[in-house]
Structures are given as C-alpha cells and as structure tokens.
C-alpha cells in the first residue's frame, strides 16, 4: 500500500487548503495510507481556536477534525511557525486539540515514512 505525507503551507481561508482537504479525504477513502499532515508557514493558522470563519463559508477546521477522528489521521503543527503567528501550547484554548505540537524534525520523519509527499 502506498503511503503519502502531506504538507500544508496555506491558511484556512485559502482555497488551496480546501483542495488539500479534498485530496487527503479522497486518499483516505481510497485506502491510501496518509502517514501524517504537517502544517507549516501560514498553514499553522489552521490550529488557532480563536480564528473564526463566517458561517456561510467552508469550515476547514471542522473537516480536518472529522478526518482526524474518522481515520485517526495525525495532524502535526510546526510550533516555531505557530509561535511566530501568536499560537502557544502554554496558553489555554489557543491551539486546537486535534493538532500534535511538533517541530521540523517531524517533517523529516514523515518524508522518510512516506513514498510520496504532496505540498499545498
């Protein structure tokens, strides 16, 4: 079975993030193993619990949460990129609990585990 890793560099208000979600969902539903999704650059904004998306717009984080729960999909957050954007694992209600706080070393791991990496 093919294994893929995914790198998200775009914020939740970017349409590319929706494309990424569609891609990951299709992969999981086709029994492709997704070894993990790594959030870097503006991708880390996904993890901000305080960020609000208008109710008539696409709710990225709800969809990631559904995938994470249904497929036990690991979502990794680059903490350096996150702290730069006001996120902190030392504050309550700040980083969404579906994310695993990690660093770029995790990206090295994912690249090594996966047959292919797809970047958005």
């Amino acid at each position: 079975m093919k294994k893929i890793a995914v790198l998200i560099t775009t914020p939740p208000y970017s349409n590319l993030s929706v494309t990424a979600l569609d891609y990951v969902e299709s992969a999981l539903k086709s029994s492709v193993e997704v070894v993990g999704v790594f959030f870097y650059q503006d991708g880390v904004i996904h993890a901000n619990q305080q960020a609000q998306t208008a109710s008539d717009e696409f709710q990225c984080i709800k969809h990631w949460q559904a995938l994470q729960q249904r497929f036990k999909l690991p979502l990794y957050l680059c903490i350096t990129a996150a702290e730069k954007r006001g996120l902190s694992d030392e504050q309550p209600n700040n980083i969404h609990p579906i994310f695993t706080v990690s660093g770029l070393g995790e990206l090295v791991e994912l690249v090594n585990k996966a047959d292919r990496l797809v970047q958005f």
């Binding site: 650059q41 660093g103 770029l104 070393g105 690249v111 090594n112 292919r116 970047q119």
Partner: protein, 133 residues
C-alpha cells in the same frame, strides 16, 4: 515480472531518500527563503541527503553583495555559509533564470553549480521528495 518489481522496490527502500528544496521566491518580501532555510538545516542536522535548487526569482537569494539589515530584515542569507557544516553540498541554480534577470554568476557562497534549464530539471527529477518555497 512481479518478482523483478519486488526486488526493485526493495533496493529503492535501502537507498537514502534524496530531498530537494526548491527556492522560487526573492529574499525579502516574504519569509519563504527563511522558512526553506530552516527546513534545509533541520534535514542537514538529521543527516538527510539534501540538495538546494534556486529558480525564478529564487536566484536572487544567491546573489553577492546584499544586506537585508538596511531594510530591517534579518540577514538570513548569511547563514548560507553554514551549509557545508550541514553536509549540504549540492546547490544548483537555473542558468536561464539568471539570464532573464540580467544577473551574472556572482554568488555569496561557493559550490553553487549553474545548470541549463534542462539539466536543472533532470537533476531535480533524481530527488525523491521536492519541497517548494
């Protein structure tokens, strides 16, 4: 047929995975170059074979004589001098991108290899993973 395919995949698993970091943005208007540099240094410190590619406006990151501090940007380009300590020795730049911008091969680090577009693309294709910034 299936046996030869199997042995092929076994061999490919034993070889270290080559990672390419493709830089396509100019250095100061956003943090793409710095974000790519951070990844390069982490991959280097984890002893992952890593190559750097510079293409399009990314070629500006290698040009000699820049000083980001004049415009209050941290001069991350200085850190490029540390690549050899991280065993990052394969640094490639696209010749056509230089010519399009009227730039000469005058770089602030050594060991940069200027490659014609086709060779540049072929070299990139030999890598297992490409990260683009």
């Amino acid at each position: 047929m299936s046996q030869s395919l199997m042995s092929k995949s076994l061999i490919s698993k034993k070889l270290p995975k080559l990672t390419a970091i493709l830089n396509s943005k100019a250095p100061y208007s956003n943090s793409a170059g710095k974000d790519a540099l951070d990844i390069a240094l982490i991959f280097g410190s984890f002893e992952q074979p890593t190559s750097l590619f510079f293409q399009g406006d990314g070629v500006w990151q290698l040009i000699q004589g820049q000083n980001g501090t004049i415009i209050s940007v941290k001069d991350y380009l200085k850190t490029f001098a540390a690549f050899e300590f991280y065993d990052i020795e394969n640094i490639y730049i696209c010749q056509e991108s230089l010519i399009q911008r009227g730039l000469t091969a005058d770089f602030h680090i050594e060991q940069v290899q200027v490659l014609a577009r086709r060779v540049f693309a072929e070299k990139l294709a030999t890598h297992h993973t490409v990260l683009r910034f």
